[in-house]
């Protein structure tokens, strides 16, 4: 009971995005764009001029906000801040790595699959045999 994680319920939570321009354009067309009174958006467009620090700051901000339930991040962008993405383990917001136009989805780099592949690794098999 002490280890039970509290799920934050919400009736109108947002989807945040850290991706390239085309992906964000598409999802904005689908109606997920949100701009608050302080002109803060729920997305960050990543291009050649975007620094790793900006991506890190956006990731930390989106994962700390209480009104965001899912963070979509292009996998190639997630690879730039892999240590941050892999160390994130809260249920909400859920982090989803999606492909981009130039970088197809690679299951080997997905943080969720990296976490669960331990069950198939030689380490887990070896520890069982000791």
């Amino acid at each position: 009971m002490a280890n039970r994680v509290q799920i934050r319920t919400s009736s109108s939570a947002l989807i945040a995005m850290i991706a390239d321009e085309d992906t964000i354009t598409g999802f904005l067309l689908a109606g997920v764009g949100n701009v608050d009174l302080r002109r803060k958006t729920n997305y960050l467009i990543v291009d050649s001029k975007t620094t790793v620090k900006q991506i890190e700051d956006a990731f930390k901000e989106f994962t700390a906000r209480e009104d965001i339930a899912i963070v979509l991040i292009s996998q190639y962008v997630a690879n730039m801040i892999r240590f941050l993405v892999d160390s994130y383990n809260k249920p909400i917001p859920a982090i989803l790595e999606i492909p981009s136009k130039d970088h197809p989805y690679d299951p080997a780099h997905d943080s969720v699959l990296s976490r669960v592949k331990y069950l198939f690794s030689t380490e887990s098999v070896a520890s069982g045999r000791r």
């Binding site: 009736s11 939570a13 989807i15 354009t25 598409g26 067309l29 689908a30 002109r39 467009i45 069950l119």
Partner: protein, 214 residues
């Protein structure tokens, strides 16, 4: 007697563990399949967006035209708790598409109710193919047609609003791209729910393994 009871209990424990492992493998398989579908849908959306950009011009479809004035999202998520067993709760995401930006919560309820009514009418029309029965349905349906038509109109209004940031007259390819990304959004929600199930199944399988090793 004691040993047979213990034997039966250990068989039950073993079958429960096997069930947990199977759940874990199933979740992983479904997650990968959903990610593959999401990739295909996104590829289609990007292609349609590129076609729209080609026909309308690159200056008419780019990030400088994004609406940066205050506006809430028309498509949001509802997050609930879902029980996955004793002492285990999972988040469950539900997509709420095209709620009015003026009053998202009220219109979510109306949209949900309207969608249910629309589904009922559609299933009635499919089941009753006789002209006499269908005419009865047609007579009945105007009573409930107010709400589904309102939901459709509202969804169309919100869609047009989203498209309007790229101008009044837009390429049909841009509209097609919008539909593809809407489908991608539905898949994103499914993937998120499957991700939560996968992580929960993994935790359970891990716990079983640790217990078995002790």
């Amino acid at each position: 007697m004691e040993s047979s009871k213990n034997g039966r209990e250990s068989n039950e424990v073993i079958s429960e563990r096997e069930e947990n492992i199977i759940n874990f493998l199933d979740s992983m398989d479904t997650y990968l399949i959903l990610m593959d579908s999401l990739s295909s849908t996104l590829r289609q959306g990007w292609l349609e967006l590129a076609s729209a950009r080609y026909s309308m011009g690159a200056s008419r479809i780019n990030s400088t035209l994004f609406d940066l004035k205050f506006h809430p999202a028309s498509t949001t998520l509802q997050v609930n708790e879902q029980s996955a067993g004793p002492d285990r709760e999972l988040p469950h995401f539900t997509l709420c598409k095209w709620a009015s930006s003026s009053n998202p919560e009220k219109n979510f309820e109306e949209a949900k109710f309207g969608e249910d009514e629309l589904l009922k009418i559609k299933s009635n029309n499919l089941q009753h193919q006789d002209t006499s029965q269908s005419s009865e349905n047609q007579a009945r349906s105007p009573e409930s047609v107010g709400t589904p038509v309102t939901v459709d109109d509202q969804a169309q209004r919100e869609r047009s609003k989203s498209l309007s940031m790229f101008g009044t007259l837009v390429s049909p390819k841009l509209r097609a791209s919008q539909v593809s990304f809407e489908t991608a959004l539905e898949m994103v929600v499914e993937v998120s729910n499957m991700r939560a199930s996968l992580l929960s199944a993994y935790d359970q399988a891990q716990k079983d393994m640790d217990t078995a090793l002790k």
